[in-house]
C-alpha cells in the first residue's frame, strides 16, 4: 500500500496526463461521427484479427473430430443414396396442346431392355401401372417415335417397338399433309415403309414424315423420319422408304405419352362404325 502510494505520488503527473489524454480521446471518439467510426473500425479490425487467429487454431485442434464427423456423414449420405437409387422416382409433367385442344400427359422413363434384330421387336421401360402407364400409350424418344405400350406390370411396361412387323402407325407427309400407314418390313432397323400415299401427290426425297393424331395414341406432329427414296409401283400408291429419325440401337431415355381424351375419341368413333 505504501509502495503503491509512493508510486502514485511519483508518477502522479504522468497518471494525470494519461487520464486527461484518455478523456480527450474519448471526447474525440464519441463526439465526432468520423472519429467514432474510425475508432470502431480500428477496434473491430484488431478484435477481428484476434478472433480469426483464435478460431483458426481452435479449428486446427478440432480437425480429428471434424474428420470423423465428415466420415460419418459420408456413410449416412451413401446409405441414403443407395435407397434413392432403388426407389422409383416418378416424373410426370403435363403439356396443354392448344392447337388440337387435347391434353397429353408425359411420363419420363428409361429403356431397360431393347432389341432391333427380330421381326417382332419389343422393348421394356422402367415405368409401370403404379406410375400411371397403361396399354396403348405412345412412347417417343427425343428424336421421334419409338413404340406403343402393349402390356404393363406394376413397375415395368413392355412396348411394341416401331420395329415390329405388326406395328402400324398413321403418319403423314408434313409438306403436303397426305397421310398413310407406316410399317416396318422386318429388314433394316433404320428404315420403315410408308404406304397408301397416292401417286398424284408430289413428294420429294428429304420430305419429313410425322405422326397424325388419328389413332388417338400419338399426338400429331411427332417426327417419324424423312423420305429417303420412293418409287412408283404398278399400283396406285407409292412405295416410300422412310429413314427413321429414331436410332433404335441407342434408344435410352424415352417419354411415355398419355392421351387423356383417348377413351372419349375411341368411344365416339366406335359409335359411328
Amino acid at each position: 500500500m505504501r509502495n503503491l502510494l509512493t508510486f502514485l505520488a511519483r508518477f502522479n503527473n504522468l497518471i494525470l496526463f494519461l487520464l486527461l489524454e484518455v478523456i480527450a480521446v474519448y471526447l474525440v471518439a464519441t463526439s465526432n461521427d468520423y472519429h467514432n467510426s474510425r475508432m470502431v473500425k480500428g477496434v473491430r479490425g484488431v478484435t477481428l484479427v484476434a478472433e480469426k487467429k483464435i478460431t483458426d487454431s481452435r479449428n486446427y485442434f478440432r480437425l480429428r473430430k471434424i474428420n470423423s464427423d465428415l466420415a460419418e456423414e459420408n456413410a449416412a449420405l451413401r446409405n441414403n443414396f443407395e435407397r434413392l437409387v432403388q426407389a422409383d422416382t416418378i416424373h410426370v409433367f403435363s403439356v396443354s396442346d392448344t392447337i388440337l385442344k387435347q391434353q397429353y400427359e408425359y411420363i419420363t422413363s428409361e429403356i431397360v431392355s431393347n432389341s432391333v434384330n427380330r421381326q417382332k421387336n419389343f422393348f421394356t421401360v422402367n415405368k409401370g401401372s403404379s406410375q400411371g402407364v397403361k396399354t396403348d400409350m405412345a412412347v417417343i424418344s427425343p428424336d421421334g417415335v419409338a413404340g406403343i405400350i402393349v402390356s404393363t406390370s406394376e413397375n415395368y411396361s413392355v412396348a411394341m417397338s416401331l420395329l415390329n412387323i405388326d406395328f402400324r402407325l398413321s403418319s403423314r407427309i408434313k409438306s403436303s399433309g397426305y397421310f398413310g400407314s407406316l410399317t416396318w418390313d422386318g429388314r433394316d432397323y433404320r428404315y420403315a415403309l410408308l404406304n397408301d400415299i397416292p401417286q398424284h401427290v408430289v413428294i420429294n426425297e428429304g420430305d419429313t414424315v410425322e405422326t397424325t393424331s388419328y389413332s388417338a395414341i400419338f399426338p400429331g406432329g411427332i417426327m417419324v423420319g424423312i423420305i429417303s427414296e420412293f418409287e412408283r409401283s404398278g399400283s396406285d400408291f407409292y412405295k416410300i422408304r422412310v429413314t427413321l429419325s429414331t436410332d433404335f440401337r441407342k434408344l435410352s431415355p424415352v417419354t411415355i405419352i398419355k392421351n387423356i381424351r383417348q377413351e372419349e375419341q375411341i368411344n365416339l368413333e366406335s359409335l359411328n362404325q
Partner: protein, 168 residues
C-alpha cells in the same frame, strides 16, 4: 497571487477570443490553421506544479474545443503540450537557471531561447492536434505538411504577440 491570477485570466480571455474570433477563421488553402491560444500555456509560470499545469492545459483546450465544435481534439493536444513543457524547459534551461515565479518571456531569456521554446511546444501541440483531427496515418506526408506550415504560422503570430507584450 491574486494579481497574477487576474493577469493570467486576462491573458486567457484575450487569447481565447483572438483564437475563436480571428485565428479560427484563417484557413489558407486548407493547410494553414494558426493556433495562437497555446501561448497561454507558454506564458504560465516556469515553476509550477505539473498537475495544475495539466489541468489548466486541459481546460484551455476544452474551451477552444467548445468554440470550435471539435470536442477533445484541442484538449488532447494542449494536455500533451502542457505535459512536455516541463521537460522542454529543463532541456533548454539557461546556464543560471530560472527565476522562481517568473513566466517565460523574451525579455528575460532572449529571442533565441523563446524561439526554440515556442517552436518545440507549438510543433508538439500541432502534431497531436492534426493527427487527432485526421485520425489516421494514411496521407502522412500531407498531414506533416499541414503541421509544419501551421506551426510556422502559429510561431510567427506568437513571436509577434510576444514582441508586442515586450514593448508594453
Amino acid at each position: 497571487m491574486i494579481n497574477s491570477i487576474l493577469r493570467y485570466g486576462g491573458i486567457f480571455i484575450i487569447l481565447i477570443l483572438l483564437q475563436v474570433l480571428f485565428f479560427n477563421n484563417i484557413q489558407f488553402s486548407g493547410y494553414v490553421n494558426p493556433y495562437v491560444y497555446i501561448m497561454f500555456i507558454l506564458l504560465l509560470p516556469v515553476v509550477m506544479p505539473t498537475w495544475i499545469l495539466l489541468i489548466i492545459a486541459f481546460f484551455t483546450g476544452l474551451t477552444v474545443d467548445l468554440f470550435s465544435g471539435t470536442p477533445g481534439m484541442h484538449a488532447g493536444a494542449t494536455v500533451m503540450a502542457g505535459f512536455v513543457r516541463p521537460y522542454i524547459l529543463r532541456i533548454i534551461a539557461p546556464r543560471d537557471g530560472y527565476e522562481p515565479g517568473a513566466s517565460p518571456s523574451m525579455v528575460i531569456y532572449g529571442f533565441r531561447w523563446f524561439l526554440i521554446y515556442t517552436t518545440l511546444i507549438a510543433t508538439t501541440h500541432h502534431f497531436i492536434l492534426f493527427f487527432l483531427e485526421v485520425f489516421r496515418f494514411t496521407d502522412f506526408l500531407r498531414t506533416m505538411l499541414r503541421i509544419l506550415l501551421s506551426s510556422a504560422m502559429t510561431i510567427t503570430f506568437i513571436l509577434l504577440a510576444e514582441y508586442y507584450r515586450k514593448g508594453r
